[in-house]
Symmetry: C2
Subunit: 194 residues, 2 copies
């Protein structure tokens, strides 16, 4: 069971993540977080001494959750099935919020990477882990397709993550799932043995 | 020849674009723009009555330039060559700034699309035009490959723009061109007649 303090911390992290995803880190003020959580300023600063520390804690918390989602979503027989199932799971997650907000890591990557080395480190870690998981799936595939041999599993894994992130961005821009569906169809085309 | 007023306006647009690309719209203050341009506050507000109007003018100016770049970069024999040449031109542009800042439209898409319908309209226009140009190239191809027939030129065009935007993001995160190169290799794989 969570203590009262742990509950407050979780509550702050959850609401801050929602706000940062929706409107960005710089555009979310501490006052907005206080208003959204109902937590007193002193209590907020007790848990997170600065907005930057809060931002990092949100990213680290989201990273933990995302790694769980990734590992649980690699379901199916063969690399292609597992990777596509995972891509579709991510699309379903994005659809739940009607593509509003998009990907917290992608957003933060564009907003913060150049600015803070600590944010950059967490973001790089998320993308590297994600690319590695897909790469390992492709390497494990017994009947490696000609295409995988030509492209190398790493190259293909980087491209798959890029397509998904680009697809999430475009689905957000157009506020429909057509772009993400087009992206997942292209990933399928890229990895299927034809 | 530009008048003094036009020169000032261009100078403000140029410096603001640099700052918005580097550190985002919300994180760039009017004071920072005044400091970077050396233009007096009253003069800045004479040309752009608010930060939002300035942001929109920067996007519209950049859109104009990007459309020119796109059209000039579709060079070569056949759709595949023209699209790949264009992708490589975009990578070269990104490399010139060592991938710092990334893509202004992608960044603004993630930062502003949900928040302002006027920003959203410009961003959608940029991506729609870009997708349409690639789609038309693929449709014009006389020897349409089996893959293009399976995927539809529109689906493939959406995926190509998504891969590039994702690739720009990853190259920015890792601060090297490896990710973008992997993405362009995968685009090649996707569109070449194999």
């Amino acid at each position: 069971m969570q203590t009262k303090g742990q509950e407050t911390r979780s509550h702050i992290l959850q609401e801050s993540r929602r706000l940062f995803t929706l409107q960005g880190f710089h555009n979310t003020s501490i006052s907005a977080i206080i208003a959204a959580t109902g937590v007193k300023k002193g209590n907020l600063y007790y848990h997170f001494p600065s907005k930057k520390e809060l931002g990092l804690a949100v990213l680290i918390d989201a990273r933990h959750e995302f790694f769980d989602i990734l590992e649980q979503s690699m379901v199916g027989d063969g690399a292609a099935e597992r990777i596509l199932y995972s891509c579709n799971s991510i699309m379903t997650l994005m659809e739940e919020t009607d593509f509003v907000g998009g990907c917290l890591f992608g957003n933060t990557a564009l907003e913060m990477t150049d600015l803070s080395s600590r944010f950059g480190r967490v973001i790089r870690d998320v993308f590297s882990h994600w690319i590695r998981l897909i790469q390992e799936e492709l390497e494990r595939e017994e009947t490696a397709t000609e295409r995988i041999k030509r492209l190398s599993p790493e190259t293909m894994a980087i491209a798959i993550v890029a397509i998904l992130e680009g697809g999430i961005m475009l689905s957000r821009v157009y506020q429909d799932k057509k772009s993400m569906e087009a992206c997942i169809r292209s990933i399928e085309e890229l990895i299927r043995n034809r």
